[in-house]
Amino acid sequence: MINKHIIYAQNLSFDRSGRNIFSSLSFSLDSSESIIIKGKNGSGKTSLLRCLAGFYPITRGKLLWYGEEILPAYYSEKPLISWLGHFDAIKGSLTVRENLMFFMEIWSVNINIFHEVVKVFSFEKFLDFPASWLSAGEKRRLSLLRLSFCPAKVWFMDEPTTYLDMENKEILISIMSKHINSGGSIICATHENFHLPNTKEYSLG
């Protein structure tokens, strides 16, 4: 039943400026499932994530979201995915709280959930810092924090462990596991060895 899959991809290929980045990928993603994408530098992990989200147009192949020809970047009813990319989408001139508030409001996040997540990442003391003060790892944690209170069921993560220390890597893995166990799905590109529940691994390149 194609219609049951959250993502259904068949024979996806993607070319950029005439270069073939990846080709003939087929897979599907269901709820409570995770996909880990591995591959050398330049093998097309980021490109694949962006194709799936709709930021890059696939060259050939078939891509369905919830059995339909929709794409998260074009869908305007509710957030379909929660995205963590190479860019952190943080405004240095605003405080951490202001940065988060905006997304809380457009995603209609409950304030209790917000406080809970802030606690998980031990981010209480940073809330009134200007975001430009944060260290590289702290910025990354801020992005993760935002990602994890987004109401979307599918998480797209591009090398989420970047800049994180050991402790925060473990927190990351635990929230990822929790998300999967509570019915969410994850697609994650990484060079690390993750142990997530119910995971499939794909290698590119």
């Binding site: 930021f55 147009p57 957030p79 995915i81 405004k91 001139s93 202001e98």
Partner: protein, 221 residues
């Protein structure tokens, strides 16, 4: 619609916090006007004659200056991706950014215009027509500017090209705006110019969100 206003609010907040160039643009506008008398000598008659045109030109440059980064700062740090994934259509995003831009750029320009007319020695009977042309014209400047501003995300550099692409598109607004004032002063009546100026707004309101959102997506491709 709720999201629309949240986004407008955020952008205005960013301007207030100094993260955006829009504030600079207003300052630029003010200073440019103040410098007119300094550079062209202080012959009052002369000043009065060019006052309308000078204020309009300063307004145009002020928009131009700030438009270059209308989408680019959000595009470069990934905010725009986050926003479009949050279930807002790109057209709405473009419109809300334009509204925020106009509120922080166009509106101050309109509000400051009486003071500036005073500085430039424009006869006070003509203040209203200056203010009206600016009120009608500045939203069009913002809307027209949105597409080149979005294209500059796609190129990744902006600057040269934004200006090159923008100016010819904005020229009609400038010509009609300053033309209305000089027509009024010369006694011919600026109504015709005003009508033509007001016609630009609905057209750009229809066309620009569509073309600008295409351009931004092009930047992601």
């Amino acid at each position: 619609m709720r999201l629309f206003f949240k986004l407008v609010y955020r952008d205005i907040n960013l301007v207030i916090k100094g993260a955006s160039d829009t504030g600079a643009a207003i300052l630029f506008y003010l200073l440019a006007i103040i410098m007119f008398p300094l550079s062209s000598g202080t012959d009052t008659n002369l000043l009065t004659t060019i006052a309308g045109g000078a204020i309009w030109m300063a307004a145009l440059f002020a928009s131009l200056l700030s438009l270059d980064r209308l989408f680019r700062s959000d595009f470069e740090d990934g905010s725009l991706e986050q926003i479009v994934l949050s279930g807002m259509s790109m057209e709405i995003i473009v419109l809300s950014k334009c509204l925020a831009h106009w509120l922080t750029n166009g509106l101050p320009i309109v509000l400051l215009s009486p003071i500036l007319s005073l500085i430039m020695g424009l006869d006070y009977e003509y203040w209203w027509i200056l203010a009206i042309t600016l009120l009608i014209g500045t939203p069009s400047l913002t809307l027209i500017g949105a597409t080149p501003a979005a294209l500059s995300c796609a190129i990744g550099k902006g600057g040269v090209l934004t200006a090159l692409v923008l100016l010819p598109l904005m020229l009609p607004v400038l010509i009609l705006g300053s033309g209305a004032i000089s027509a009024e002063i010369s006694g011919l009546g600026g109504k015709g110019h005003l009508y033509a100026l007001s016609a630009i707004f609905p057209i750009s309101l229809l066309v620009s969100p569509f073309l600008a959102s295409r351009s931004i997506r092009l930047g992601w491709e």
